[in-house]
């Protein structure tokens, strides 16, 4: 007890040195656990979401980029498809196509333009409000809503793509209609809206003041000034003026999730996109993600070995620091010895100091691991969305 009291007093007297030692030891202890937690969490998140998505259609190119952008809304952009690819699946009557257009963002979150089928497909539940009902409405993922402090009735503005593109994409103010309950998936990090709203952001659809009067109609050709005001906000008053130009089959989509009616339909669908001549490819996400996870774990094993070596070196450095510290304290120990403290008492004092440092480091490491473990789903979702 006296040894513990003296060790505590010593560590408190050398507070900053003690704190640094505790932190370094805690980092050495916690890093392997944290990395394992995140790796296992990522594997679980990647695998479960991939397995819940039977098929993805996208432009021919990197299969991994396609899956990462379609399932995890990552920033890897693949060349857009057209809506015709989605309609072709619908017309084939082999499955339900769910188009996604993920080209834009708002306040750092990916805007996912899709159809209401996505909500059913992913089993998303509303925590507040209702699903989007008209152009310009959004439903926020739980993390986005929490981070931005937004809820039903608030507004969110899409981010301009290029400040110098004066004729390009303009920001659109969107109305928040609802917030999804947390799912621990990339859906928490996204802003969902009708795909038609993302086409408005892309400039394919727009609303503007009436340009037509009876005389002009009679003439059959109406020319509006380039200064005509286009609406950047969709309200009940301006909603009716919004319209789209061109053939909807030609409108862009980033990818199409497909839920085949059955295994046979899925096989037939995959067969239709095998030809290299076809600009559209069909990818089974679980195959791509299994391959990715294998690679990650091979790299992770190497990283673990490196972490062990670095940890051992750091532990040796801590040991050396403690040893040198004891060498510096030799006069202090000699005084204690002359006062009647035996070698056993001095050993107890040293062990008490070491035990306190390691105990505090273990406690701190446990807190860090617990914090990461308890929020691993949102941390993993955030990491995957990067």
């Amino acid at each position: 007890m006296n040894a513990l009291f003296l060790a505590t007093a010593y560590l408190r007297y050398h507070l900053w040195r003690s704190v640094i030692l505790v932190i370094v030891a805690a980092v050495i202890l916690s890093v392997p656990f944290i990395s394992q937690t995140l790796l296992r969490g990522s594997e679980e998140a990647l695998t479960s979401r991939a397995e819940a998505t039977p098929l993805v259609l996208g432009s021919r190119g990197s299969r991994l980029d396609l899956v990462m952008s379609a399932l995890y809304f990552s920033e890897e952009a693949t060349a857009p498809l057209t809506m015709a690819a989605s309609e072709a699946v619908w017309d084939s009557d082999l499955g339900l196509p769910i188009p996604l257009y993920t080209a834009f963002s708002a306040s750092g979150a990916r805007i996912v333009g899709t159809t209401l089928d996505y909500i059913e497909f992913r089993g998303l539940e509303l925590a507040e409000g209702r699903p989007f009902a008209v152009l310009g409405e959004t439903v926020l993922g739980a993390s986005v809503a929490g981070r931005l402090g937004l809820g039903p009735g608030d507004t969110l503005v899409s981010s301009p793509e290029n400040l110098f593109d004066l004729d390009g994409v303009y920001p659109l103010e969107m109305q928040v209609a609802g917030v999804f309950a947390p799912t621990g998936t990339p859906d928490d990090e996204a802003v969902f809206t009708d795909i038609k709203t993302t086409w408005v952001i892309a400039g394919i659809g727009h609303g503007h003041a009436d340009v037509i009067n009876a005389a002009e109609v009679e003439a059959g050709n109406v020319t509006a000034s380039a200064a005509l005001i286009e609406y950047t906000r969709i309200t009940p008053e301006t909603l009716d003026s919004f319209h789209f130009h061109g053939d909807p089959d030609g409108f862009p989509v980033s990818a199409v999730l497909v839920a085949p009616w059955d295994d046979r339909s899925g096989t037939i669908l995959r067969g239709r996109y095998l030809s290299q001549e076809n600009p559209v490819q069909a990818v089974v996400p679980s195959e791509v993600i299994d391959d990715l996870v294998d690679r990650i774990f091979r790299i992770a094993a190497l990283l673990d070995a490196v972490a062990i070596a670095v940890g051992a070196a750091a532990a040796a450095a801590i040991g050396l620091a403690l040893f040198l510290s004891w060498r510096l304290r030799a006069p202090e120990m000699a005084t204690a010895f002359r006062l009647g403290a035996g070698r056993y008492v001095i050993l107890r004092l040293a062990l008490a100091e070491l035990g306190l440092i390691l105990g505090l480091a273990a406690a701190l490491a446990a807190v860090c691991v617990y914090v990461v473990w308890s929020s691993r789903e949102s941390v993993v979702a955030w990491l995957l969305a990067l």
């Binding site: 159809t115 009902a133 002009e216 109609v217 005509l228």
Partner: protein
């Protein structure tokens, strides 16, 4: 629940459902034109919750283009004859950097060609069978009954078309493009408000149209004020009221109301033949 955008589809759905377990939602108020009605957010939320949402297609109820509806539960009942839809006048304009473009309209009262109506009923039945298993028992028999009724209307309309061959008809509103095409009728259209007394300028436009086309028959979209019918009669026009039934009739149903309209046209054709 089956949600529909116009009365003919609601009627077809009611006939095909055959059970009280399946309700039919047709949210348009009786005094509103379903083609131009605008749903509230509450209306859209109710429609979103339906097991099946039956659209007419052909640009009917254009609010659909600005609303979010689940693709898996949508059926476009005119999709099978989309290639043969009738395009209406377009207006060309330009603004901003988009260059010149036009909004082409499409005639949307597709069910007035009763063969097309039967196709729409078949599309609806197929979608109901897939989305609402509760209607499956006896569905094919109910569809056959409905098709038989529609084809009977088609046969009657064919006879009227033959009887009115060579006669130009004027309609008070451009609703009858498919009826005219299917049954070989020459119908030119005005743009009068349904059920309202036309203004003097509109009567003048009618006179001019009669002079230009030799029209002998006026088809009212909805029963007009008595004095309007008298004034049209004074112009020498034979008249019939032929509601296109986009909305629910005050009395009867789609079949009885449509039969009444065709009967009125049939009587008129007989009168013209007698004269």
């Amino acid at each position: 629940m089956v949600a529909t955008v116009n009365y003919p589809l609601a009627y077809f759905a009611e006939r095909l459902a055959g059970t009280e377990q399946v309700s039919v939602l047709f949210p348009v108020p009786a005094d509103r034109d379903p083609a131009f009605w605008r749903p509230t957010i509450a209306d859209i939320s109710e429609i979103q919750s339906a097991d099946l949402i039956a659209l007419n297609g052909a640009g009917f109820a254009d609010w659909v283009a600005r609303a979010s509806l689940p693709r898996a539960r949508l059926v476009d009942t005119s999709e099978l004859f989309a290639e043969t839809l009738i395009e209406t006048e377009s207006i060309t304009h330009s603004h901003g950097a988009d260059g010149e473009h036009s909004h082409t309209g499409t005639a949307s009262f597709t069910w007035l060609d009763f063969e097309q109506a039967a196709t729409q009923a078949r599309s609806l039945a197929t979608a109901m069978e897939r989305r609402i298993p509760a209607v499956a028992v006896g569905l094919h028999a109910r569809l056959a009954d409905l098709e038989a009724d529609l084809m009977a209307l088609d046969a009657e309309a064919e006879d009227i078309g033959t009887a009115l061959s060579g006669v130009t008809l004027v309609a008070t509103h451009p609703r009858y493009q498919y009826f005219a095409r299917a049954y070989g009728l020459e119908i030119v259209s005005l743009d009068w408000d349904a059920g309202a007394m036309p203004e003097d300028a509109q009567w003048q436009a009618l006179s001019d149209l009669m002079s230009g086309t030799g029209a002998e028959v006026l088809i009212w979209e909805a029963a007009p004020p008595e004095e309007a019918m008298v004034r049209a009669a004074d112009l020498g026009l034979a008249q019939a009221v032929f509601p296109p039934l986009a909305n629910r009739p005050a009395e009867g149903d789609f079949l009885t109301a449509m039969r009444a309209s065709l009967d009125a046209l049939g009587v008129l054709a007989l009168e013209l033949a007698t004269d």
